[in-house]
């Protein structure tokens, strides 16, 4: 699948932003670089692509400009040669649409994504700073071996460990040998429990009959014992009754005798003797009450008769109450009247004083001077007008005086300025001629530039100093920098080759020595016979053979035999040591090679040394030409030549500047010459002269301004004096008119003659008079009202006194008091009379009640007495009580007799039977017989108890064999448990089989895929690091494996020990390998990188571009960056094969 175009319709800050990746061209990598500055939206574009594939998340961080519900991206995908136009909306359902806006199922896109989830896609194929590191760390550091992680990442099977763990723990929870916590163990235990329960509860069928027989026997035994015990109980009962009846019989006899004399007494009593006692007490108390009440009635009647009542005085009470308010007013007036009269007199005096203030003629009634409020207001207004005019006139006069003074000052100042003379010659025209505003800055910058150029020149010259030699001028050039550097580089090259060669030479020498020793050791230590030795033995044998062949004598034969033996021994020894011999030959061969190499190195070394010497000589020649007395090494010489070039450059700069600024400097000098006589200054440099001339020009301008302002001031003061004069004349006329209207008003307001001039000073006396007049009329009214109240009160009081027949006292108030006393006394007498009447009534009714109750008590006594025969005294309550008491005792005895007779009946029978049966029996006989029976009974009870126990045991045993279903239920449970056990074992087996299969399959899969993954990763990493890390390897670490990168020197490093840039390269290599792996499974997807080369150096960035281009050859690679240099490098590496898009 490849991305042909991507459109961010509404996403992030984009609206309808489109990228066109065009058609894929065969033989040209599908590699694109999207370049744009920070925040141009590169990451947004990558995210947009992921949204197109996987939809929008519930809360989308890219919904900041467009609302979440409006977000939309679309794109065109090439899938296996087909064009797939897709639009992704942010709706909940049906978010994937085709070109005709028809809803597509998610499967339409999922089918082309292998089984990669969004997370996998991000971590594997959409790399940014975060995902490249996170995904990479997971691959390298996660628990499990790297091969598996690589393939699972590539295959999208991300959680196989989880599945295996889950199955393992499932199997473990079902069954483990000898474990007690597994399901199988639990079921087995439960099964054993159930078995035990069945054993405890169940009874075999054979026991059933035995139990039944036992019960039958026990039952019979128990029945026998019960009947024996019953007969003993019967005997005991008869004896007990007889024994109890004996005392009863004798008591019956005694009672019959005692009751004989009281036959006529009542059979039962209506009254309780205690009730009679209470009745007697009540009678006594009532008699006492009666006497007391009679005495009280006599006393009260007497008291009442002694009271004197006066009805006419009683009415006074209400009449006095009607007068109460008048009386109060009378008392107040008595206190206030005098005070008010005095105030009235004072007010009169005040008014007279105010009249005097107005200086009216003596004897004028002040009241005639009181004016109305309206008149007063009118007077006030007129007076105010007059006063205002006077004040304004005064103010204008003062202002006129001030204006005249200012006019005088202005005239003086003008005269002063005219006398001031311009003694100095003006400088303005001169400065203007030289255009000082442009000349001055040019002069300054020229001076500055020349100064710094000179400094630079001096410094570079100083830098040339070397080996104690200094230079005042730049030495003439005989050798260019390029030549000098070439010389130095050549020398360096020769020198380093010489060193390497020397090292190798000595190394070869060492190796030769070691090999020599080894060969010697092989020959000597193992008794090995070398080829020369063997050959000489053979030659010797051949020689002796030819001797022997010709001679055939015993001597030659012996010699030949000895030689044969020696050769045989040698051959056999050589055969025995054939391996060592082979080695020996190999080593000798190596020695020859080494020897040749050593000679070649030595030759080369000599040649190199010659070359180095020649180069040094050339350098020395140049140094002498520059004036150095001692030889200078080529490298230092090159450095020095570079410095000399710098110095001559500085010299040229200084010269050029001097020429450029020549004219400016000349103008400045001329101006200074013109200014100097005008300014008469101590110092004559250009800067000071220009500055002083500018100050002088400013002074001239200021003086002109001052003169103009003095003229303006004079004119304005003259105008002011005229204006004030005119205003004063107007005010005087107005004042005259106001005064005459004031006089007229005063004359018409008063009936008496009043001094108007005095009045114009203040109207206060008129106002005081008006206020005092108000006070006076108020007081007069109050006094009249009080006097009327007094007269009314005196009249009323004297009327009442006359009615009550009382003589008048000195004042009406005193008479009023006496009348009140009389009324009170009359009321008190009346109250006493009423109280006595009430008490008398109560005493009389109490007496009547007591008498009634006494009669009732006597009636009761008579009724009770009737029950007794006449021979018994019952005349009083006391005697009645004695009779009742005796009758009670008689009734008690009769009852006892009846009870005894009936008890006897119960025990034995009628009184006659009893007498007959007990005639000759004594208590002693009966007691003895009873104790014998008790012993027998005890014995029988014990036997019965045992029999019952036996019977109930038998019964219980039998009951246990009831038809209850407990055992059947347990058996059923047992069966179920057995089934469950079987089921669990089978489930365990199924799980375990599945697990074993999966583990084995995964292992094989891993082995198949691992090596190719590792190879691909290794190659990509080597490419990315330009060969700095040529190999990858793994190393077991406990249960896991660590990935190690091996650098050119053979040092193994873990991912975390690599620099960030190199680590990123490793992680990129892993992804490149995964991409290749996916591609081999026919899954090609667009691969995005978001500026992950930031930490790469230039040459590795170049390699990374190549890796991207390689990915582009298999599938599609898109790189997003904001670095121009990455774009440049991509162009440099891929030329026209990369497409650059700009945002």
């Amino acid at each position: 699948m490849r991305l042909r175009s991507l459109t961010l319709d509404l996403f992030g800050h984009f609206s309808a932003k489109s990228y066109d990746f065009g058609d894929a061209t065969p033989d040209r990598p599908d590699f694109h670089v999207i370049y744009g500055p920070n925040e141009a939206g590169k990451t947004t574009s990558m995210e947009g692509f992921l949204r197109l594939l996987y939809g929008f998340p519930h809360i989308d961080p890219y919904g900041f400009l467009h609302q979440r519900k409006n977000l939309k991206v679309s794109g065109v995908l090439d899938v296996n040669g087909q064009r797939l136009e897709l639009t992704r909306l942010s709706t909940r359902d049906g978010s994937l649409r085709d070109a005709n806006d028809m809803i597509l199922p998610e499967a339409a896109i999922q089918a082309h994504l292998g089984s990669l989830s969004e997370t996998d896609y991000r971590q594997l194929l959409c790399l940014d700073d975060e995902t490249i590191e996170k995904g990479g760390d997971e691959i390298v550091a996660s628990n499990g071996d790297i091969g598996r992680l690589l393939f699972s990442a590539a295959a999208g099977v991300s959680d196989l460990t989880g599945v295996l763990d889950q199955f393992r723990s499932k199997a473990d929870s079902l069954y483990r040998k000898r474990a007690s916590s597994t399901e199988v163990a639990r079921l087995k235990k439960e099964l054993a429990d159930v078995d035990q329960q069945i054993k405890d509860l169940d009874i075999p069928a054979s026991a059933y009959k035995k139990l039944k027989q036992a019960l039958e026997t026990a039952r019979q035994e128990e029945a026998d014992l019960r009947s024996q015990r019953k007969s003993l109980h019967d005997q005991k009962a008869i004896l007990s009754s007889e024994k109890s009846a004996l005392p009863l019989l004798s008591e019956i006899q005694n009672l019959t005798d005692a009751l004989a004399d009281h036959e006529d007494f009542p059979r039962q009593l209506e009254v309780n003797p205690e009730d009679l006692v209470e009745l007697l007490t009540r009678q006594n108390r009532l008699l006492g009450d009666k006497d007391r009440l009679e005495a009280e009635i006599a006393t009260l009647t007497e008291e009442q008769a002694g009271l004197v009542r006066n009805p006419s005085h009683q009415t006074l009470q209400s009449e006095l109450a009607a007068l109460a308010s008048l009386s109060a007013r009378y008392s107040t007036a008595q206190l206030d009247l005098e005070k008010r009269r005095k105030s009235l007199a004072e007010t009169h005096a005040d008014m007279a004083r105010s009249a005097r203030d107005l200086q009216v003629p003596e004897g004028t009634d002040p009241v005639t001077l009181v004016v109305t409020e309206a008149q007063l207001q009118k007077l006030e207004d007129t007076r105010q007008t007059l006063r205002d005019l006077t004040l304004q006139l005064e103010r204008e006069g003062e202002q006129l005086k001030e204006a005249e003074l200012r006019l005088r000052h202005a005239q003086e100042r003008q005269a002063e300025l005219k006398t001031a003379d311009t003694a100095n010659t003006p400088v303005g025209p001169l400065l203007q001629r030289y255009a000082i505003d442009s000349l001055a800055p040019r002069f300054a910058s020229a001076t500055e530039a020349l100064k710094s150029a000179a400094t630079a020149r001096d410094e570079t010259l100083a830098d040339l100093a070397m080996a104690g030699q200094t230079f005042d001028a730049v030495p003439a050039s005989g050798l260019s920098l390029t030549e000098a550097e070439e010389l130095a580089r050549a020398h360096d090259g020769v020198e380093s080759q010489r060193q390497t060669c020397a090292e190798r030479c000595s190394e070869s020498q060492r190796d030769l020595a070691a090999l020599g020793l080894k060969i010697e050791h092989l020959t000597s230590a193992s008794g090995l016979i070398d080829d020369d030795h063997a050959k000489s033995a053979r030659d010797e044998r051949d020689r002796l053979w030819s001797v022997h062949k010709s001679d055939l004598s015993p001597t030659t034969a012996n010699a030949f035999e000895a030689a044969m033996e020696s050769l045989d021994k040698t051959s056999s020894l050589r055969l025995d040591h054939a391996a060592e011999l082979g080695q020996l030959r190999g080593e000798e061969q190596r020695r020859i090679e080494l020897q040749a190499r050593y000679s070649a190195y030595k030759e080369r070394l000599a040649r190199l040394e010659e070359e180095a010497t020649a180069l040094l000589a050339t350098a020395d020649g140049h140094a002498r030409a520059f004036g150095f007395k001692s030889p200078v090494p080529p490298k230092l010489l090159a450095q020095w030549v570079a410095k000399r070039d710098l110095a001559s450059k500085a010299q040229r700069t200084w010269e050029r500047l001097s020429q450029e600024h020549e004219e400016t400097l000349a103008s400045a000098n001329r101006l200074a010459a013109d200014l100097r006589p005008l300014l008469t200054l101590e110092t004559g440099d250009f800067q000071t002269l220009v500055s002083e001339a500018r100050r002088r020009l400013q002074d001239e301008r200021n003086r002109e301004d001052e003169r103009k302002s003095a003229e303006d001031a004079l004119k304005s003061q003259e105008t002011a004096v005229e204006r004030h004069q005119q205003r004063i004349n107007e005010l005087k006329a107005a004042k005259l008119a106001a005064n005459s209207s004031w006089q007229a008003l005063a004359a018409e307001s008063f009936q008496a003659p009043v001094d108007t001039d005095l009045l114009v000073q203040s109207l206060q006396p008129l106002r005081s008079l008006r206020e005092l007049e108000l006070t006076r009329s108020g007081l007069t009214r109050q006094i009249e009202s009080m006097e009327a109240d007094q007269a009314d009160f005196s009249r009323e009081v004297s009327d009442l006194a006359q009615k009550a027949g009382l003589r008048l006292s000195e004042t009406p108030a005193a008479t009023y008091g006496q009348l009140q006393e009389l009324a009170k006394a009359a009321q008190k007498t009346e109250d006493t009379y009423v109280e006595l009447g009430r008490r008398l009534e109560a005493a009389r009714s109490g007496l009547a009640a007591a008498e009634t109750v006494l009669r009732e008590i006597d009636g009761k006594r008579l009724v009770l007495a009737e029950a007794f025969p006449d021979r018994v005294a019952t005349g009083s309550l006391q005697s009645l009580r004695s009779a009742v008491s005796l009758a009670g005792e008689v009734i008690e005895k009769r009852k006892r007799l009846d009870d005894l007779t009936s008890s006897l009946q119960g025990l034995i029978g009628s009184l006659e039977d009893a007498k007959l049966r007990l005639e000759d029996k004594t208590e002693t006989d009966l007691t003895a017989a009873l104790s014998l029976i008790d012993e027998d009974l005890n014995r029988a009870d014990q036997q019965l108890e045992q029999a019952i126990e036996r019977r109930s045991n038998a019964q219980r045993d039998l009951a246990a064999v009831s038809g209850d279903g407990e055992v059947a239920r347990l058996v059923e449970r047992k069966t179920t448990l057995e089934l469950a056990l079987e089921e669990t074992v089978l489930t365990y087996l199924e799980t375990q089989y599945g697990l074993s299969l999966a583990e084995e399959a995964i292992r094989r899969y891993r082995d198949t895929h691992r090596s190719s993954m590792m190879e691909a990763t290794e190659k990509a990493f080597a490419d990315l690091t330009n060969g700095a890390y040529a190999r990858l390897t793994t190393q077991p670490e406990g249960k896991t494996e660590a990935l190690l990168a091996i650098d050119a020197r053979g040092t193994a490093k873990k991912a975390m020990e690599l620099s960030k840039g190199t680590r990123f390269q490793l992680y990129l290599a892993l992804r490149a390998a995964a991409y290749q792996q996916l591609a081999s499974q026919n899954l090609c997807l667009p691969f995005f990188c978001d500026d992950i080369f930031e930490t790469f150096d230039e040459s590795r960035t170049r390699s990374a571009c190549k890796v991207m281009s390689t990915i582009g050859r298999t599938g599609q690679a898109i790189y997003l960056t904001h670095h121009q240099h990455v774009v440049d490098i991509a162009r440099e590496v891929c030329g026209s094969e990369v497409t650059i898009h700009r945002i």
Binding site: G114, S115, S117, A155, G156, V157, S158, L160, G162, V163, Q166, F167, Y175, K177, V184, D202, I203, P204, A205, S206, Y208, K209, V961, S962, G963, D964, G965, E966, V967, A968, R969, V971, E972, R973, T975, T976, L979, A980, L981, E982, E983, V985, L986, Y988, L989, E990, Q992, Y993, G994, L995, S996, L997, A998, E1000, A1001, I1002, Y1005, Q1081, N1082, L1083
Partner: protein, 414 residues
Amino acid sequence: MSSIKILHTADVHLDSPLKSLALREEGLQSAVQTATRTAFSKLIDFALTEEVAALLIAGDLFDGAQRSAKTGAFLLTELDRLKAAGIAVFYIKGNHDAENPVTGEVSLPDNVHVFDGRGGKKQLGATGIWIHGVSFSGRHAPESLLSKFGAPEEDAVNIAMLHTSLAGSQGHDTYAPCTVSELSAMGFDYWALGHVHKRQVHASAPWIVMPGIPQGRDIGEAGPKSATLLTIEERRISVSEVPTSAAEFCELQVDLEGCTSDDEVRGRIRARLQDLSTGLVSDIGLLRLTLTGSTARKWQILRDQDLWRETAGEIAANTGRIWIEKLKIDLSDPGAETAASSAVAELEKLMASIRTEPGFQAQMSELLEGVSAEIPVRRRAELLPDEAAARQLSTDLSSAGAQTILAAMKGASE
């Protein structure tokens, strides 16, 4: 002569337990435990309500393995109820009764007539009905017992009781062998047979009736169970079925062909269980459910099989009558051909090939041998009678195990 009713049953196997994993559920335990007792009690209840004249028990009243005296005690209580109502019981012993000691120890009430091994006949009260019968005298009866029957009574209804496997079935021992035609020729009006657990009316003139077991005890005895009621009017016999089972075993396959969502799957299971529940004769159904057909949900269902087991259980519980005793998943995947390139697909192929390798098979056999020792002896003998069975079991389990773990892997990579 007014109509007389006689109830015929056999193979009660009192207190023989039900074999179902569904009984792990406590709710079910209280409903169906001691189901053979419940069925027998129902039978007695029916006899009392219908006022039958006699109950015929044609052998295997007791189960061979259940030897508790309590079983006898329960039987006595029930038979006493018949005695109180004046109902006679005729009983011949079957092979299981002969081996069970309880049979001899229990003294049956006097309304029960037990025929002995020599055979005999007895009149049913004052009616014109004679009952003939022969008991097993040992565990086995390899020879025919027909010769022990006497001639039928003249002018009477003659009923003969025999415990027999008839011609027998392949692979099983034969018990008192005889054929239907031999029975027909004996001149009896009704043959009250016992021994075969599945009801079958072999003939109607004369009647030859195998009533079947009154309560099925495992999936092998599936379906509703009953006793047989004879109604005799004017010497004519008519026959009807009386349901007795408290619970019945049933099997059901639900076809999930074309299901694409879990909701659909649930819907189909629910519909089928509803139907099943409606047609159930007993109060409770113990269901072995198999999901079949080709569906895209295969792997999800397989992966979440525990969940589906629970779901099916819940759906069954909602019917109020059905309990799932086992859920089997036998689905195929319509898309199996397409996704062949993924890693899981490759693993699937690898697993399939590893399964056939002798090395892995040896490993499986070893594991099976070791672990099967944990299975109780009786179950083990049934499960693994011979080498071939063991091999087959290993193959089946490894296939299922591979499917299950594959389902989980597919789930993990989803």
